[in-house]
Subunit: 406 residues, 2 copies
DNA sequence: CCACTAAATATAGGCAGAAGATTTACCGTC
DNA sequence: GACGGTAAATCTTCTGCCTATATTTAGTGG
């Protein structure tokens, strides 16, 4: 006979109702008691009492102006309230291998400021990463004119699997553990919720919230950097697995015509090197340079035979990858994200077309992310928002620039 | 401003608490108010009032006997209640291609009776399947001495993907649609909840509830019949996907060394046929007969070279399949289920051992199901149980052999 | 200045649950 | 067979949340 949650106090009822009202009003324009009544089904007196209560707590502001918005004008003017998106702040971080980005956003996930900390090229010292996180956060908060105490929830994306508690397994040669040197504790503050999450998972959250996956219930965000990784959203849930390893794509080693989880950049470089070795590419070709991938698509568009061949190989590879993942999970969409995504725009249509060779209808669609390099940070902010929205009254908001109505 | 659920009436609070209490005592021995208080945190008066209420509704019986169980004997004897597992019945069906099985169970998922309807060998007429369902249900209910009205929830497993509403896409050549000819409507009755679900998914539910997956939060049930299909349980959720196709294994066509989603039986038959064609197997070998697969393992155990070779090929194939699925989703376990499962017991250890060739630590474990041919039906019953437990007070139970206390 | 209107406020009542006093139904024991 | 002791049931009182239904209020337009 295990314990079960019950409402053993009227106070709990009120709290649940207040949270429901707050969620209903979160994204709304200024609203009146009538709106609150419609959204919750509560009586006017109760709705008003809850609004006043939420205003006392700092979640809502009562707008002095009664019928300012000229919304009609018979009868006694309605009291108007508005959700205060700056009642608290959200912090989203992308703790990449060489760079840490912090994003400060309000309670509607509107980005207010950024902060970036570059890390030394070959660093694996945990303290350097931890310091970098602190630096990026400080920069972002300063730019936003905000204070550490204003942050209700912080979420960090790391290039490693993470379990429910934000811990990463060591991984081979301890790479994962080095990427996630207990970043949770760096960000922890009293009254603040902190979560460490896999970066591809956060990219998926971002795509689902404001990207190509909005409205979709089954899709993947394919983070295409040096190695491929995926965030899997199925039935509206982010998949985690035993130890957070869901979406790790080592299974691609078993997929015919793919053979590894290498990202598109490394594969392109390798193919171009092979062409050079075979004498089909001049040793000083721009395709072999730093910006090889950008050059590659330009050259393919200009019908350079080697470039066309390589791009076709990449298309085929990506189609196989997407087919394998999407078929097993019945996804309707694969969003290719990461730094390389913008360059891949032209590729995705070709990939989608090629899917019919490797998958069966209904075929998924492959698109490039429009969120750019910020995908992980934005996803982190949205994840933080979910945490706050899930139980807003669990967060203390009173401090922030608000004088409670006594 | 979308509508949100609120507790706008004391009645709702009471209902929620009653449901919580009921869930807490669902699997308990006879219990007293003290037990109920401990499980819910409510006061004695409230707990007793709720128990009486639930007894009135027919969910609990009050045991006349006060301190019969000799559980101590100072003070005023406690009133004792017990959950009534027969307050309503659950119906689980396995609507296979050639055979329909119905299982009747009580509210603790204890199986009370079976009913089987065999279908003509080559039938695809929807009406024949629908009639078969009715026949199997009638047989099972009769054996249980029960009536249609006693069934609170029914769940059917079909060999086809199903969406949230129990509908199946037509599939190529309409096979799926024929396997699921609106079975929902056949079982529908006023006051009864009906659900149509993919059979592999139900096998996964069964394994998670009473099979090898009990306690595991990320595992797959691999239904190994003529074709492979999987039910995927990740983070405690059954994966569905866009149209219920999650766990369809056509992606195996892309996996090296696998190449198709054919089950082990067909592959074994094909390998044996090839051996026979090559003259390595006598044309009258028992391995080529009806019970080939059973024979195969026996022969391999006796070091028959052809049999050993085929079993090794099957081991390798299964290891690749499990590695691909388990790696993508970070599963800790793959349970091989289906009619063939019992024969596969000896194979699974070899498969688990071979996984290290195709996957990386932490490696999943592969085991054979111990649930036998009933896995789908049992899973269906457990799924039905979930439906009832989720909101027990939404079901009317009063009728069944119980005189409410006026 | 007066109806009219729509919203805010005030008042009363129902109901769930807590808290604590009291009663009850047993057990020993003398 | 009356007498404490005990643990649970029951009774009484109280608080808080919500509904329902007046009543008041702050405006508009004639």
């Amino acid at each position: 006979m295990t314990a079960h949650v019950v409402l053993n106090s009227p106070h709990l009822v009120r709290r649940a109702n207040a949270a429901a009202l707050l969620r209903a009003v979160w994204d709304a324009r200024p609203f009146t008691a009538n709106d609150a009544m419609a959204a919750t089904g509560l009586t006017r007196s109760t709705a008003l009492a809850l609004c006043d209560h939420l205003a006392d707590l700092g979640w809502l502001s009562e707008l002095a102006d009664a019928r300012a918005a000229g919304e009609y004008s018979k009868g006694r003017p309605a009291r108007r309230y508005a959700f205060r998106p700056t009642a608290g702040l959200l912090l989203g971080l992308d703790a990449g291998q060489n760079r840490i980005t912090a994003v400060v956003a309000d309670l509607r996930a509107q980005v207010l400021a950024h902060g970036v900390a570059r890390l030394p090229r070959d660093n694996l010292d945990p303290q350097i990463r931890r310091d970098g996180v602190g630096r990026a956060v400080h920069l972002a908060l300063t730019e936003a004119g905000a204070h550490e105490d204003d942050v209700l929830a912080a979420v960090v994306g790391v290039p490693a699997p993470t379990d429910r508690h934000g811990a990463s397994p060591p991984g081979e040669d301890g790479y994962w553990a080095r990427m996630n040197p207990d970043l949770r504790s760096v960000l922890s503050r009293p009254g603040r919720t902190v979560l460490v999450e896999n970066d591809a998972n956060l990219a998926a959250v971002a795509e689902g919230a404001v990207g190509a996956g909005a409205g979709s219930t089954a899709f993947a965000a394919l983070l295409a950097g040096e190695r491929l990784g995926a965030g899997l959203m199925v039935d509206g849930h982010l998949l985690r697995g035993r130890a957070g390893g869901a979406g790790e794509l080592r299974m691609l080693e078993l997929v015919e015509g793919v053979g590894s989880s290498l990202g598109l950049g490394p594969v392109a470089r390798e193919l171009l090197r092979q062409a050079a070795d075979a004498g089909r590419l001049a040793a000083d070709s721009p395709l072999l340079g730093e910006d090889g991938v950008q050059e590659l698509f330009r050259a393919a568009a200009a019908h350079d035979p080697v470039a066309v061949e390589v791009v076709e190989a990449l298309t085929d590879r990506l189609a196989r990858v997407c087919a394998a993942i999407a078929t097993l999970l019945d996804l309707e969409l694969v969003v290719v994200a990461g730094a390389i995504a913008t360059a891949l725009g032209p590729l995705t249509a070709a990939v989608t077309a090629r899917l019919e060779r490797y998958a069966h209808p209904p075929l998924p669609v492959v698109v490039a992310s429009r969120l750019g390099a910020d995908a992980v940070g934005v996803g982190a902010v949205h994840r933080a928002l979910e945490l706050v929205r899930a139980d807003p009254l669990g967060f203390d908001v009173a401090g922030r620039g608000h004088a409670p109505a006594h």
